[in-house]
């Protein structure tokens, strides 16, 4: 009587083993560079002379592992420096009093908000890993330590970086952060689907008109008329819906951040194009189609599963294709936004950054760590090892914010089209998020206006110009008030540095 149950159980175990054995390699296994540094045991760390640094960072998974490798490398350098007679090593990796430094990396969700509150409470971490958009807030509200003095003393110098990433760290003439991993956004296309639609798989669309034409050819409907596949859907993945005007050459605000430019002709052109897309493919149909697309980090990802043939994505996309569909043939090219040209394509750039929160316990030691992350081997030296930033960016499958890279980094890097992402960062038409403290609210409001357009753009009072004018008229008074508050605080002397 028991035999059938035992058989079923045995079959279940066998199936589970087979599934687990055949699972695709994890992203960690595929991407991680394989650096194994000495991770100190608890016994090593009881020595009272060690300076312990707390470092909060947003990453987990393989991206967190990559940063942990970088932290391990720093900790190892600091351990070695203690017994070293090399004054440079001691200066870079030991505290000013010659004590060993040990960095504790803590993966923290909503790290920007938690770091703000920790500064307010007087117990911030020594280093916080934020997004570049947080820099103006932390600078404006006295929540970060200015790095000007450290930089003057120890470097690195701005020319070492691609200018767009350096700009993200500077607010009102002072440097408040240094970049970690950068990102530029490009167009990925699925060569298999191009072939199937009778398009040249090696020739991506080069103009917006071509993109529209390709979209029509690549889009498929099922027998009931529902969208089964789209060539391009502007809401997939939808992470940059606040910035469609940028691709058409528009900016969110004037360079001083005081006047919004959301109703400029470039923004209207962008919204007119989007509205036309919604008109052509059906607002409700596009909504339904979008809701059926899988989550980004899964085999159901719209691009990986072949539901969308062309997407806007960052350098990291290749990591996920490699894991979930290694057989897929794909290419990378600049998005054909009319705000750029063949020589200098238009592009959005962002970066993760490190700040030293104001009021932290060990700012000098924290700087040693931040400086190490912002270092690398000499690109001119063919035997230079992968260090600092390159450990991080190799592990995360990204390029670095620096100009140039070591041979070892190039050789080990898994991304076939890394060059595009580097080149895009150098473009004359690269856009970074506006360096203004109210940016988060503006960003969210712009994304909501995109929703409004795509949902109601065919109704009276909801055309591109009207949606944008309403958006600007709502936000500009808020922005004026924000600046009034900032100017008042400046006059009252509550302003840094």
């Amino acid at each position: 009587m028991k035999t059938p149950y035992v058989l079923v159980l045995a079959l279940f175990v066998l199936a589970a083993v087979a599934v687990l054995r055949d699972r695709p390699p994890s992203i960690e296994e595929t991407v991680r560079a394989g650096y194994q540094f000495h991770r100190a045991s608890a016994d090593d760390l009881t020595d009272g002379s060690i300076v312990h640094l707390t470092y909060w960072e947003k990453w987990n998974n393989f991206e967190g592992e990559a940063m942990q490798a970088c932290v391990d490398a720093f900790n190892e350098h600091s351990r070695a420096a203690l017994n070293s007679t090399d004054p440079e090593a001691r200066r870079r990796f030991l505290s000013p009093e010659g004590r060993r430094i040990y960095v504790h990396l803590l993966s923290t969700t909503q790290v920007n908000q938690k770091a703000k509150l920790a500064v307010s409470g007087g117990l911030p971490p020594d280093v916080a890993g934020l997004w570049s958009r947080d820099v103006p807030v932390f600078a404006q509200y006295n929540a970060a330590t200015p790095l000007d003095e450290f930089l003057k003393r120890d470097g690195p110098a701005p020319p070492e970086y691609q200018p767009c990433y350096w700009e993200m760290c500077v607010y009102e003439g002072h440097v408040w952060a240094l970049p970690t991993s950068p990102s530029t956004v490009a167009m990925y296309w699925n060569k298999d689907l191009f072939r199937e639609a009778g398009l040249d798989p090696d020739r991506p669309p080069r103009t917006l008109e071509e993109l529209d034409a390709y979209n029509r050819k690549l889009t498929r409907r099922d027998e009931s008329g529902r969208l089964a596949r789209m060539g391009f859907h502007p809401s997939e993945p939808g992470w940059w819906n606040y910035g469609w005007g940028n691709w058409f050459g528009g900016a969110h605000a004037t360079p001083d951040g005081r006047t919004l430019l959301l109703d400029s002709k470039e923004w209207v052109a962008a919204y007119t194009w989007l509205n036309k897309l919604a008109e052509d493919y059906g607002r409700s149909e596009m909504r339904t189609f979008k809701s059926g697309l899988g989550t980004f980090d899964s085999p159901q990802n719209a691009f990986i599963s072949g539901k969308v043939a062309i997407v806007l994505q960052g350098v990291w996309m290749a990591n996920y294709i490699r894991v979930y569909k290694p057989s897929m043939q794909w290419g990378v090219a600049p998005f054909p936004g009319p705000g750029g040209d063949a020589q200098d394509p238009v592009c959005l750039a962002q970066a993760d950054v490190l700040v030293i929160p104001r009021g932290c316990k060990h700012p000098e030691e924290a700087w040693r760590f931040v400086r190490y992350v912002n270092s690398r081997g000499d690109p001119k030296d063919p035997d230079a090892p992968v260090e600092g930033m390159e450990i991080l960016c190799l592990g995360q499958g990204k390029h670095t914010p620096f100009r140039g890279m070591t041979e070892a980094f190039q050789r080990k890097h898994p991304h076939e089209d890394l060059g595009w992402f580097i080149k895009l960062g150098e473009s004359k038409h690269v856009y970074i998020e506006p360096m203004m403290p109210m940016w988060e609210e503006i960003r969210r409001s712009c994304a909501a206006s995109y929703d409004e357009l795509m949902s109601k753009g065919d109704q009276p009072g909801y055309g591109p110009q009207e949606v944008l004018t309403r958006l600007k008229n709502r936000l500009q008074p808020k922005l004026d008030q924000e600046w009034e508050r900032i100017d008042r605080a400046r006059k009252a002397g509550g302003h840094r540095p």
Binding site: Q113, K116, L117, V119, S120, V137, Y141, N142, A143, S224, S284, R287, T288, F289, K290, S291, G292, L293, P437, M438, E440, E441, R444, A447, A448, S449, D451, E452, S455, K456, R474, Q481, R485, R488, A489, A492, G494
Partner: protein, 305 residues
């Protein structure tokens, strides 16, 4: 003896004072200041309240919150009442049904939000998998749920059934009404048998028994559930936050006052403004609760009165 009692109460009292009373009072003070958390507060008088009155996003959030409360609370109470009535029936497997109806209440918010995200998926979700074949036979399109900023209705021009993001959120809230149903059930079981017998002798039918015997008897519990429901629905945060990735989208369709408070306090550096919104919300909940009690005074039957 009294002193010893205070010693036992002290930890709780200290916790209440530090973690509830102090934030409660200080938030009132901050609501009259310009406070970013990162800089000391500066007095701002009634400026925050004035700005709230003119803020279209706050007004939208407030309107959404009222709509949500109406859409979640009334059907929630009716459904719980109906379920309790069914659970009160003497049939086989009652314990199983009771457990089955209560279990969804125990599912963590995040898990149930993700589950509903799949159910409400316009393309491949469970609900549309049933609706689509039915609607397509008559040439209509099924609703797009969480992707649609409209409320509910029929669009004859586009031949489309509308059931938008906010009603979807309200629909989700019905998932947890088992707890309310169990409270009703407990009260149903307290209704004295002699009242049923008297009603039967008077020739009352099932509807009359429900309306004139059971409903008055369970009315204190209805009032309790209404009050708890008002407090709960006006403070809902986690579900829309998870479902919309913190945006309250599409285009503010699920943007409710608690999310407005959260964003202003922690994302926009406007703690003073957020405190003013929180106090307005508190005032509204207090007023509605008071109104519920006032109405209840006349309509709720308390035995022995």
């Amino acid at each position: 003896m009294k002193a010893r009692a205070w010693v036992f109460v002290a930890p709780w009292a200290a916790g209440l004072a530090v973690f509830t009373l102090f934030p409660f009072v200080s938030s009132l003070y901050y609501s009259f200041t310009d406070y970013s958390v990162l800089r000391p507060p500066t007095p701002a008088g009634l400026a925050n309240y004035g700005e709230l009155a003119a803020d279209p996003i706050f007004r939208r959030a407030l309107g959404n919150t009222f709509l949500y409360a109406a859409m979640a609370l009334v059907p929630g109470i009716l459904m719980a009442l109906g379920l309790a009535k069914l659970l009160n029936a003497r049939v086989r497997g009652t314990s199983f049904y009771r457990a089955a109806i209560y279990i969804p209440h125990l599912v963590p918010t995040v898990a149930s939000a993700i589950l509903w995200m799949w159910m409400l998926n316009a393309d491949s979700g469970l609900i549309n998998s049933i609706l689509r074949p039915l609607l397509e036979t008559v040439g209509w399109k099924p609703p797009t749920f969480l992707g649609d900023e409209r409320l509910a209705g029929l669009d004859f021009g586009r031949r489309e059934v509308i059931f938008g993001a906010l009603p979807s959120l309200a629909l989700m809230s019905l998932w947890g009404c088992g707890q309310m149903a169990i409270i009703y059930l407990a009260k149903f079981q307290e209704v004295p048998q002699e009242l049923y017998e008297a009603a039967e002798l008077d020739g009352a039918g099932p509807l009359s028994v429900f309306l004139h015997v059971e409903l008055p008897q369970i009315s204190p519990v209805i009032l309790f559930n209404v009050v708890m429901g008002i407090i709960g629905t006006f403070q809902i945060f986690a579900e829309p936050f998870i479902l919309t990735n913190g945006d309250g989208g599409p285009n503010y369709a699920t943007y409710l006052v608690p999310m407005f408070i959260y964003q202003n306090a922690f994302e926009y550096q406007r703690m003073g403004y957020a405190c003013a919104a929180a106090w307005l919300l508190f005032g509204l909940i207090a007023l509605l609760t008071l109104a519920a009690f006032r109405i209840g005074q006349k309509r709720v039957y308390y035995a022995g009165e």
